[in-house]
């Protein structure tokens, strides 16, 4: 056997995606190569080749010929370095250096400005000399950004800082050079304003950059969960392969304590698996042959082999990452107003500053030029559009990331906003409130006769009730009779021909519709139903021959979840195809407010709409497959996932585990996130609305209050930081 080697090339700098994909086919045509895969996102190319016939230099030469760039070999032995992380760290370092230099010079400038020992003009020249590096080096980026924006007739916070501090600096320089140029106006310089404001804004930016990193760490944490290699059985031998080379269908070996690399189904062996990182369930899950396993979860006790079903971008983890990042970038409806304001905010502030200058100059007290100037600068440097822009997205980012940690996947910001307002929650019964695995508890009539007829009708079916009958029949070794002329009657049962007899299996309605009397079984049926059991009658040739009672126990988490919702003043309902007495028995057991029984699957949607007509904001909790129309009709569809499917189309929220306590947790998380957003908006807007007029001097005629530009700059620098820090408080959210 030849020795297969895998090589990963970094194609950073490749100019065109189409050229890169033509590169893929060029490499594939090299005889030594057995497999090539191009990842356009990471801009890497993975090549599997025979090392006796090929070598890395050969591929690098081809890359150069096709793309004109020098590809570098990615060494998989080292932990793959995070390019983005690296950039962020260097950015932080640069910011820190600027803050330190700015702070030292500003302190000296402030001290020098207030203790005049030298003649004024000489002092001003020294101050000018110290301020220039602060403006040019520390604050240079504001001026560059301002200039770049102005070229495109755009403005942002940097524009305000640049214009404000630039004016203070330019004016002071002018005064220094020609003290008498502005006539009788007092020759006061504002070098300290320029230096201190720039330094404070930089300090704010530094803290902001640090805080942002932690606001955004949900995705990074999820990505870090993924395994790097997999132990794959290929050609009868175990090989450790990088994850990129694992394909669907591979047989993979997992030992105790190891991470399960990709999604798949267990073939043999048994173990317990800690799935908390993906589904949020805290108790390890038992796995045996046939059970699905999820990549990135941790195998605890035993060893097993499984067949990979999903790899790469199809795995549950990859889907979660995609879903969370989509949710984080979505816009909450609450933000529409904010958007309208921020779009015009900066130009409006510049106009307010001009108006401030003009009014103070024309109508203000002496020295009017000084007042006009200082107040206009204060207006420019106090306004903070960033705080408004950051208010909503930062909370959404932290909130959805927090949800993912508990297995609560929120589709978008709109769903989060709706979850907050939910007043009533409808639970589907089977498989949602209950485990969905019914078992036969009682049987009336001749056991063998009843079960063999029922088995004949249900043996092809995968319906949960059928499963209960089939497994009981198999347990008792009942022979399978042949049935023909199948007919399923929705919400009622089934009809078929067995041994020439017309056999009915279903609920009371089915019997009534076919005019089959229950006869002696009528009292037993009523009694069994009152006990919360689903009862099916079996009839042959128009005569009832027996009853089968099945029970589907509520999930252990159900009562606790319903109680939590009640405490939150949310009305709870259960919807089911079962008859009323069965449904009520289950309803009582879990403490639900209201039971809606005898509902055909296709009518669930109508009941959702009926509640909405009562002006209720309705959430529907279901399995996402059978309940899709009802989930879609509700204001908020909550799908109980099984841990293996992530993006359920009709649902606004997908719960990765079957734990019903995630439902109240979702509502609590949404309430926490939305009130966090409101706090942020209150501070961001209130701040600008309250302080800009103060800076303009509207309080001066009444109290003589003015805003010192240095204080204004400081307040501005910390307003966006305060928004981010407030959003970060959401990280302390606990599900219970």
């Amino acid at each position: 056997m030849t020795h297969q080697i895998s090589l990963k090339l970094n194609l950073h700098g490749a100019d065109s995606a189409s050229a890169a994909s033509s590169l893929e086919s060029v490499i594939r045509d090299i005889p030594a190569v057995s497999n090539v895969s191009l990842n356009p996102i990471t801009e890497t190319l993975v090549i599997a080749y025979d090392d006796e016939r090929g070598n890395p230099e050969m591929f690098i030469t081809r890359v150069r010929a096709v793309l004109g760039i020098d590809a570098t070999v990615v060494n998989e032995e080292e932990p793959a370095h995070d390019h983005e992380q690296m950039l962020r760290e260097s950015e932080l370092r640069a910011l820190r250096q600027k803050v330190v230099i700015g702070a030292v010079l500003s302190a000296a400038i402030v001290a020098g400005a207030f203790t005049p020992i030298l003649p004024t003009q000489w002092a001003n020249i020294i101050l000018w000399g110290m301020t220039t590096p602060v403006v040019a080096y520390v604050g240079g980026q504001f001026f560059i950004s301002c200039w770049r924006g102005l070229r495109h007739r755009n403005a942002n916070m940097d524009t305000l800082v640049a214009v404000g501090t630039g004016a203070a600096y330019g004016y002071s320089a002018l005064i220094t050079l020609a003290p008498g140029v502005l006539g009788a106006v007092e020759a006061q310089t504002y070098f300290d304003v320029a230096a201190v404001v720039i330094t404070l804004v930089m300090l704010g930016k530094y803290f902001e950059a640090r805080a942002k990193t932690s606001a955004n760490d949900a995705i990074r944490r999820l990505l870090a969960l993924g395994a790097k290699t997999a132990r794959v059985l290929r050609d009868g031998a175990e090989v450790d392969l990088p994850l990129e080379q694992v394909v669907a269908g591979d047989l993979i070996l997992v030992r105790p304590g190891e991470k399960i690399p990709v999604d798949g189904d267990v073939l043999d062996g048994a173990s317990t698996v800690d799935q908390s990182m993906v589904t949020g369930e805290s108790i390890p899950v038992e796995k045996g042959p046939g059970d699905p396993v999820i990549g990135a979860t941790i195998n605890k006790t035993g060893a097993f082999r499984f067949r990979a079903t999903k790899v790469g971008q199809d795995t549950v983890l990859a889907q979660i990452v995609r879903l969370v990042s989509e949710a984080q970038s979505s816009k909450a409806p609450i933000q529409r107003l904010v958007d309208q304001v921020t779009a015009v905010f900066t130009p409006v502030v510049i106009m307010l500053a001009i108006a401030t200058f003009t009014v103070w100059y024309v109508f203000g007290p002496q020295p009017s030029a000084s007042y006009a100037f200082v107040n206009a600068v204060a207006v420019l440097v106090i306004a903070c559009p960033c705080a408004m822009g950051l208010a909503t997205p930062t909370s959404i980012m932290v909130g959805t990331g927090k949800g993912a940690q508990y297995g609560i996947l929120i589709k978008d910001a709109e769903s989060l906003e709706r979850a907050e307002r939910v007043q009533a929650i409808i639970f589907d019964k089977t498989g949602t409130l209950t485990a969905g695995k019914p078992v036969v508890t009682d049987l009336r009539g001749n056991e063998t006769q009843v079960l063999s007829l029922a088995y004949a009708l249900e043996k092809q079916s995968e319906h949960a009730l059928a499963e209960a009958i089939n497994s009981r029949a198999r347990q008792l070794h009942i022979a399978a009779l042949d049935a023909s002329n199948f007919e399923a009657v929705a919400g009622r049962g089934v009809r078929a021909t067995v041994n020439g007899q017309t056999v009915l299996l279903g609920n009371r309605a089915l019997m009534d519709e076919n005019s089959v009397p229950l006869g002696e079984f009528a009292p037993a049926l009523a009694e069994l139903q009152t006990g919360g059991k689903t009862v099916m009658a079996v009839a042959a040739d128009g005569k009832t021959v027996g009853l089968i009672a099945v029970i589907d126990e509520p999930k252990p988490s159900a009562s606790e979840a319903i109680a939590a919702l009640k405490k939150m003043h949310v009305r709870t309902l259960m919807i089911t195809g079962d008859n009323l007495s069965t449904a009520q028995a289950i309803g009582r057991q879990v403490g639900i407010d209201q039971v809606v029984a005898n509902v055909l699957p296709q009518d669930k949607e109508q009941h959702v709409r009926a509640l909405q007509q009562e002006r209720m904001v309705v959430a529907m909790v279901g399995d996402g497959i059978n309940d899709a129309p009802a989930l879609a009709a509700s204001d908020l569809g909550i799908a109980m996932g099984t841990g293996t499917d992530v993006a359920i189309e009709a649902a606004g929220v997908t719960l990765m585990n079957g734990d019903l306590r995630s439902v109240p947790a979702t509502i609590r998380l949404s309430r926490a996130t939305m009130s966090n957003i409101r706090e942020n908006l209150f501070w961001a807007f209130g701040y600008n609305i309250a302080l800009i007029p103060v800076a303009m001097g509207v309080l001066y005629p009444f109290f003589g209050w003015l805003m010192n530009p240095i204080l204004a700059g400081g307040a501005m620098a910390f307003s966006s930081l305060s928004v981010i820090l407030n959003a970060l408080r959401l990280r302390r959210f606990k599900v219970s």
């Binding site: 755009n154 942002n156 916070m157 949710a327 970038s329 779009a343 108006a355 024309v362 822009g389």
Partner: protein, 120 residues
Amino acid sequence: MSVDKIAVGIGGVAALLFIAWFFFGKRQTVVAVESRVRITVDGGYTPEAITIKRGRTVRLEFLRKDASSCLEEVVLPELGVRRHLALNETTPIDITADRVGEFAFSCGMNMYHGKIIVVE
């Protein structure tokens, strides 16, 4: 009222009008895109508005030249994309629009804007 006050008063009003015209009175040029387009991120987005055909996948290549932290992220809310743009690098984003209409994109702080117009 002294001459300088009158001059400042008139100058102030003129400056207000100029600022209003400068920021609010600009026209957008719309670029029709077939399969890919380079959008330069530098004090805004160039081009600022593009048209694409419905159902066609288009690659937007954002080349960020501006170090301002405001522009470090690009957000396409309707398409569920929020991407960090590395400075002086091209970040490709593939988009497919399945309905006709206008999709806005903006920087992470919603200061700079652009739009994608989807046509039949």
